[in-house]
Amino acid sequence: MPSSPDKYSVLLPTYNERENLPLIIWLLVKHFEKCNYNFEVIVIDDGSPDGTLEAAKQLQKIYGEDKIVLRPRAKKLGLGTAYIHGIKHATGNFIFLMDADLSHHPRFIPEFIELQKKHNYDVVSGTRYAGGGGVHGWDLKRKIISRGANYLAQILLRPGASDLTGSFRLYKKDVLQKLIDSCVSKGYVFQMEMLVRVRQFNYTIGEVPITFVDRVYGESKLGGQEIVSYAKGLLTLFATT
């Protein structure tokens, strides 16, 4: 019997995560059930060619269709639209957003939930920059760029949160809906914009230090292109919020 009437929907956009999906589902189930929370995992697969959806279907047979919900899409569309798509099918009153590649570890989920309950926060954000939070797999150059970019964003936007580009967060469902409806950016600037609008709409926000195990950095280095689009996004938010 669940200990409270709250239900947590985890939105999991996936693309080529056939290797990671069984483990992350297992970890999610383990950490939710350990504390007796009511939950569901909504897998939003963007037509992965590696068979992620088939793996998800097998997991659905094991854990049940009420726990593993499949809402695939035909091809690779943006993260923002994945969230919009997922939230439509979410039956929980709280939504977890996180990465499916195990860079975010489900063991932090109870901490998010407890902090939210304690202060009735509208949003709880996982931070890599404060408390015991941190990153694995970043070289010095990446760390400097990351800290520099975050410092600039803090000066310009004063967001009231230490990690603007992080994507491991817990939202009240109606809060997330309102934030998504008012955001216009794409990519990780979208993550920044959501957090900036939290302050704009006077929602309350708490933070949980998390560990981020970067498993793609080796394959996709941070290029000049990304830095330019980050700067553009930052300046747009500076001028419009």
Partner: protein, 105 residues
């Protein structure tokens, strides 16, 4: 704050900064160009002239020091990466175990 008939809205960050900048510039300029008939000690005038540059340098140094400190104290989560690797190696989560579980339940 701009106030419309529908209600008040907070000024954007850009507008806030521009306001602050305009305020500071007008005060500084009027003092330095002696537009306001105020008698100031020449020592204060000596400091006032290069004040904007001083402030920029102080801000620049503070920024570099802060970023440097934060890079140096950036936590490296090696234990988290290690335990994740271990998770993959263990077999209890694998589909084989899960199928066994469904047979039992």
């Amino acid at each position: 704050m701009h106030c419309f008939s529908s209600g008040c809205q907070m000024a954007t960050k850009l507008v806030q900064w521009l306001t602050l900048f305009t305020l500071f510039s007008s005060v500084w300029l009027s003092l330095v160009l002696k537009l306001i008939p105020v008698e100031l000690d020449p020592r204060i005038m000596d400091v006032l002239w290069p004040l904007p540059i001083y402030l920029l340098v102080v801000f620049g140094s503070y920024s570099l020091a802060t970023i440097g400190y934060r890079v140096a104290t950036f936590n490296d989560c090696d234990e988290a990466a290690e335990s994740l690797k271990q998770c993959f190696n263990k077999s209890y989560w694998s589909p084989l175990f899960s199928i066994r579980r469904t047979i039992q339940s």
